[in-house]
């Protein structure tokens, strides 16, 4: 077999799933498969694995556990969850701990899965090849970092202000329009957004913004316990964290710090941004898209102006 094929590791406690997947990816990649989460973790420690595709519910170690461990030992490995049932814990765990690339539900569409795994594999092959992933201790320049909080009553903004050092500028917006204004004018690293309705503009905006600006990291705070909404935000919006409202202070603090660090990495190593590539959004909103396009133009023009001034 060709040595250039990327390595993909499948983890599922059902042998037949593994057999089926092995067949599907034969010739496309070097397939590793195991029914044991612990074994999967061992393998990613010992050898280069470009993509891990794991089931969630397994005896012993859960899928989120596997992906969390992989993220720690082999950060360049792309992580995908492939599961038959999306309970809320699994979904939030996959974002917050697994930092996954995609959440795919069983039964899957073969071509769709091939597309996702191929895309993930390409990204990982490139990241493994170039020693691009910097040490996680990237220093944040506090003065440069800006955090935008989008919530209607300002409670979350107040909490964020309390949790972060004073050096970090915090902007508060009550509406999407106000948020877009801030985003167009200022260089925002992290956006904390309150999501109150499943079909609302905030979710659509988050997805579109990620597409336009991959380095912008989103922390979503929401009372919605709706797995489907969160899965949409993962696949189409690559959100960085999902916290149930009211957010646990410590989780919010850690999320903010991690997001600021990650943003610094993404800024210094632009190629990493492709790790946050999103799927095209399924539900769009024409008028919002128009406004976002407008924002995007302003942002681009503004950059040009700023760039000209700098030069």
């Amino acid at each position: 077999m060709s040595v250039d094929l990327p390595t993909v590791l499948f983890v599922d406690d059902e042998e037949r799933i593994l057999r089926s997947l092995r067949m599907l990816f034969r010739g496309r990649c070097e397939v590793l498969a195991t029914t044991s989460g612990n074994e999967a973790i061992e393998w990613t420690r010992r050898r280069r694995v470009h993509v891990v595709v794991s089931d969630q519910r397994m005896p012993g170690v859960s899928g989120v556990d596997v992906l969390r461990a992989v993220a720690r030992h082999s950060p360049a490995t792309m992580r995908i969850l492939l599961t038959g049932y999306a309970d809320l814990d699994a979904v939030t765990g996959s974002v917050n701990d697994g930092e996954i690339f995609r959440f795919v539900e069983k039964p899957w569409n073969a071509q769709h899965l091939i597309g996702i795994v191929d895309q993930a594999a390409q990204i990982a092959v490139r990241d493994f090849a170039a020693p691009a992933i910097p040490a996680r201790a990237a220093v944040v320049e506090p003065a440069a970092a800006r955090v935008l909080v989008l919530d209607d009553d300002g409670a979350i903004a107040a909490q964020v202000r309390e949790l972060l050092p004073h050096a970090i500028t915090i902007r508060h917006a009550r509406t999407i329009e106000a948020a877009l204004d801030v985003l167009a004018e200022e260089d925002v690293a992290v956006m904390v957004a309150q999501l109150t309705s499943a079909g609302g503009d905030v979710a659509v905006a988050l997805k579109e913004l990620k597409r336009l600006q991959p380095a912008l990291l989103a922390i979503v705070v929401s009372p919605l316990r709706d797995s489907r909404v969160i899965i949409g935000l993962i696949n189409e919006g690559q959100i960085f964290r999902f916290l149930l409202q009211p957010p646990v202070k410590e989780l919010l603090r850690r999320g903010l710090i991690a997001a600021l660090e990650r943003h610094a990495e993404l800024r210094t190593t632009a190629q990493l941004q492709s790790r946050h590539i999103v799927e095209p959004a399924r539900d769009t909103n024409a008028s919002l898209s128009g406004r976002l396009a407008h924002y995007w133009r302003r942002l681009r023009d503004g950059r040009l102006v700023r760039g000209a001034r700098a030069g």
Binding site: R57, G84, E105
Partner: protein, 446 residues
């Protein structure tokens, strides 16, 4: 002529306005009689139209009640031979009842009713006197009014009780329902996962097979054309076909077809598994019709075990099943299923270590069917053990249990004429035993 103060609720200290039903509402303003009023005058007074509703009149000296004189007593005096002449001029104080029933105006109706009952004579010949808190005369009260008030209150309370009862009943139903929904939700979550797993590889295998059949059709078509062209001059089309054959053959070789066969075997297995899971669900929903039916508890146990199977597998818990031969029981199978599911999921939740083991034993004993569910989990503290069948008692975290599961289980088992018992040792495990009355087997004719 009457010098006594007019009865009014303002006399004495006024009772607080917000006080619940007491005597105040029942007070009748009867004009009081001075103790020295002659009997004849009192006789006239009692015949007065204003006084026809009174059984007796109050006698009051310096604002304080001293006695009563009843219509009955006056009639006795006047009906005596020469009664009018003998007693007519005497002061009423000589003839009055010196120990009338005196009640304070702020006395609650119920208490007043008790005092009246203790004091009452047959026939009822007197009203009672009502005083202020300072003991000064306020008015009189009729025994019948008190009884009526008590009756009203009882009726009202009865209605309230009935309403409260209806409310309780409906909220109990709702709670039972929500517990059922909670366990149903868990079950559905598990089943969805259980079904989507085989569905995952079934769909994938079918998609791959379809692709392979497309390739095979192309290959066979090209080969047929090549065979047909045998011996004929070489054409461009033939070259294309030969190229296609060369490209397709490695994909559709004997190994690939063998692999496809294996995939189809898996597919059949998956479809059978989905069928079985759906069958379980169907059994469960049919059982949910809650009517009384003959059922074998072993069957119910197997069905419940199948439903929690995904939980057992997920936690890697070993199930040791001892199935004894059992007579049937008369039961609502869905309800017994609910009990078994509850005991099993409690057992699973109690196990927090890696060597989980649940023993499920069924046996017949003395006309009963016993189900024993024993886990090697964390056990129940002695001080909790006596309360675990209480509604809403739970040691689980908020959102993990309603605290109703065992209460409902207990109720269901009792309704079936059975027993549910628990024994537990912290750190060792917990054992539940459910005993249900078996259907008495008819003795077979020899």
């Amino acid at each position: 002529m009457n010098t006594q103060p007019r009865p009014s609720s303002q006399s004495g200290s006024a009772p607080p306005a917000a006080k619940p039903a007491d005597l105040e509402k029942l007070v009748l303003p009867a004009a009081a009689i001075a103790p020295d009023t002659p009997v004849l005058d009192v006789g006239e007074r009692i015949l007065d139209a204003a006084n026809t509703s009174f059984l007796s009149l109050p006698i009051v000296a310096r604002g304080m009640p001293v006695g009563t004189i009843s219509r009955y007593e006056l009639m006795r005096i006047f009906l005596m031979p020469y009664g009018r002449e003998l007693y007519g001029r005497r002061p009423i104080a000589a003839m009055m009842n010196r120990k009338p029933l005196v009640l304070r105006i702020d006395m609650p109706i119920d208490e007043a009713a008790r005092a009246i009952a203790a004091h009452i004579t047959n026939p009822i010949t007197e009203d009672f006197i009502v005083t202020g808190r300072d003991g000064r005369y306020v008015g009189v009260g009729a025994v019948l009014d008190v009884l009526r008030a008590v009756e009203d209150r009882l009726t009202r309370r009865g209605v309230e009780l009935e309403r409260a009862h209806a409310r309780l009943k409906s909220s109990q139903l709702q709670l039972v329902q929500s517990e059922k929904m909670a366990s149903l939700g868990q079950m559905v979550a598990g089943l969805v996962h259980e079904i989507n797993t085989p569905l995952g590889y079934v769909r994938n295998n079918v998609e791959m097979t379809r692709g392979a059949i497309g390739d095979a059709a192309q290959l066979v078509g090209a080969q047929e054309r090549v065979i047909a062209a045998a011996g004929k001059p070489r054409t461009l089309a033939l070259d294309r076909d030969l190229k296609a054959i060369e490209a397709l053959r490695p994909r559709i070789d004997a190994t690939a077809l063998e692999d496809l066969g294996a995939l189809l075997d898996d597919t059949l297995h998956g479809v059978a598994q989905i069928g079985e899971l759906v069958g379980n669900l169907k059994d469960f929903s049919r059982l949910d019709q809650a009517r009384s039916d003959r059922a074998n508890v072993n069957t119910l146990v197997e069905s419940a075990l199948r439903i929690v199977q995904h939980l057992l597998r997920k936690r890697d818990i070993e199930v040791v099943r001892h199935a004894g031969e059992l007579p049937d029981v008369l039961c609502a199978p869905a309800q017994i299923n609910q009990v078994l599911l509850n005991l099993l999921s409690n057992a699973i939740q109690a196990i927090e270590h890696e060597r989980g083991r649940i023993v499920v034993r069924t046996q017949a004993l003395d006309g009963r069917v016993l189900v024993l569910v024993e886990d090697n989990g964390k056990g129940i503290a002695a001080e909790h053990l006596s309360r675990i069948f209480d509604p809403f008692f739970t040691t689980k975290a908020v959102g993990q249990g309603t605290g109703l599961g065992l209460a409902i289980a207990h109720q269901i088992v009792e309704q079936h004429g059975g027993l549910i018992r628990v024994a537990s040792k912290p750190g060792v495990g917990t054992r539940f035993i459910v005993a249900l009355p078996a259907i008495a087997e008819k003795t077979k004719a020899p």
